[in-house]
Symmetry: C2
Subunit: 342 residues, 2 copies
Amino acid sequence: MTTSPRVTIKDVAARAGVSKGAVSLAFNHKPGLSEVTRDRIFEAARQLGWAPNLAARSLAGRRVDVVGLAICRPARLLGLEPFYMEFISGVESVLTEHSCSLLLRLLRTVEEEVGLQDSWWRGKHVSGSILVDFRADDPRVAAVERLGMPVVAVGHPSLTGGLTSVWTDDASAVTEAVRYLAALGHRRVARVGGAAGLGHTAIRTAAFDAAARGLELSGAWQVATDFSGEAGARATRSLLTASASDRPTAIVYDNDIMAVAGLSVASEMGLSVPGDVSLLAWDDSQLCRLTHPTLSAMSHDVHGFGAEVARTLFGVITGGGGGSHPVPTPVLTPRGSTAPPR
Amino acid sequence: MTTSPRVTIKDVAARAGVSKGAVSLAFNHKPGLSEVTRDRIFEAARQLGWAPNLAARSLAGRRVDVVGLAICRPARLLGLEPFYMEFISGVESVLTEHSCSLLLRLLRTVEEEVGLQDSWWRGKHVSGSILVDFRADDPRVAAVERLGMPVVAVGHPSLTGGLTSVWTDDASAVTEAVRYLAALGHRRVARVGGAAGLGHTAIRTAAFDAAARGLELSGAWQVATDFSGEAGARATRSLLTASASDRPTAIVYDNDIMAVAGLSVASEMGLSVPGDVSLLAWDDSQLCRLTHPTLSAMSHDVHGFGAEVARTLFGVITGGGGGSHPVPTPVLTPRGSTAPPR
DNA sequence: GCGCACTCCTAAACCGGTATAGGCCAATGC
DNA sequence: GCATTGGCCTATACCGGTTTAGGAGTGCGC
């Protein structure tokens, strides 16, 4: 098979009987060309099936239509986490409107990510990036500020330094969750949290402690996990093995897959939900409506969150933006898995 | 804040006291440089924090370390589908080893995708692509052949023409699933299938029909959905509303989220699983082990599947490869949701 | 002393666009 | 009639790499 010889701007120019400059002008909708010439150029390009070479275009200084997203989690775990795919699909829904693509990369450490963002930016491979999974004293803050790279940080301003950030108020949401359970009459409450190193996990942990103290609960447990269903199941099992008078009567989970796992552990242990133990999920993908009983959750429009992040990034790239953009706090959505304790 | 002036190959060359050509030679590990010069160049680059500009590099003819993946499904639906994220994470696990990134784009139609792949390739933005979700007479086959673009097609060879393909034997798997249910004693079996336009759905549909006929089942229903939990729930509800003597006693689902939904519908209708109806899921993410009862499934290493696709693509890009690469057929994994009918 | 091969390196062309200074020509002002 | 203006377009210098032809220096055989 003969690979079609690549058609360049020069071919189009020749065919239309103009210079390359004219073709460039036409394709970037800049003034300085007559209507007829413009049409002739487009017609020639159409006939030859020409599309501008993005590498050349970005080399010559124009913005490139790609934004970066690097995620530091083991690839295996990521596939199981409903949050990210939904987040990405939200990001994509906005990028698509701007004919923009997402450059995705999974790595192991933040240090690797610093290097990657660096070469993405220096190499003009992206016009900006989305940064996620902030931890305390995150090295990316200083790195991208030094580069002058347009980014949006997904995380609480206390973690993201001076970067433009989009965030949900995790502390308030945790507080609301605990208050709700306390209002139902629960006095012994546990939380199955996410990965310990993550900034938002720390925020939630602190908020949970504060809320438990403020409400003078008689028992408050917290366990860290890796967000996987297996870890959620393990955590639940160990929380529920204590005697009925000592174990928690309500458990809050940091995502929904762990809550589903918890539900299954409860039934495996012969405990009824919400009779013996109430469960409260987080993020609320459609999974929560597919279990039996359905899962109460701190509900959160993850898709919309991703979309907002993308919109904010476009703002930063075009030189505007900056500042801190809170998105709506997750709202409590009671369903079948929470009730007063027996 | 002052954006750091970009450092280019020229700066590195000046600092190391050599020409730009020498720097290029060093960084591409080509022969023709003495050990000392090479070291001096690397040291200079390190001090200046230089990374080669990928746009310039790809413009000048070298392969670029990016592969493309375009998915034609509504962004909203995609977030809910565990398959894709797991697939992508498998792809990434191999790409990462090669310091390669994934360019991801969601679109609405295959026609759009043809245009996108075209400009990705012509624009040298990717060195190859992964094509998914084939349908009958897929226009992408001819398009990428015309371009001479390296791609791997995820789909049965009957759908992917002469393209290098990686595929699972859906027909055998469906047949095995139906045989298994029949062997348990089921005579009325249904299948809740995926999106009607998709090639692999058509293959499964035909295989299901053939198997049902071959085994002389007394009832065989098939319903098409959009893969969402809601659609799975709806389909299950309508299948199970018939009287006990008319409705199916076993249902096969095309993914696992629909099976979870089906499980919940059964219990909402007061039917016991597997007593009144057996359920068999597909793809088998960890979800299937988290329900109660656990879901029997046609189990499939989606992560490994993605990894194999990526490996194959590298083969094609480096000029080798071609042909058809079957990956292991999904294997039946009986769990708690299947049993002989009452 | 000369030719020859070999190693190490440089200069310059090239990739395919964008940006810009300036050329050409008709219309306008005085 | 001649300078000025303005619209339309071309020529050319970039962007930051890769690639190649070839030059400078060294060692060696005869």
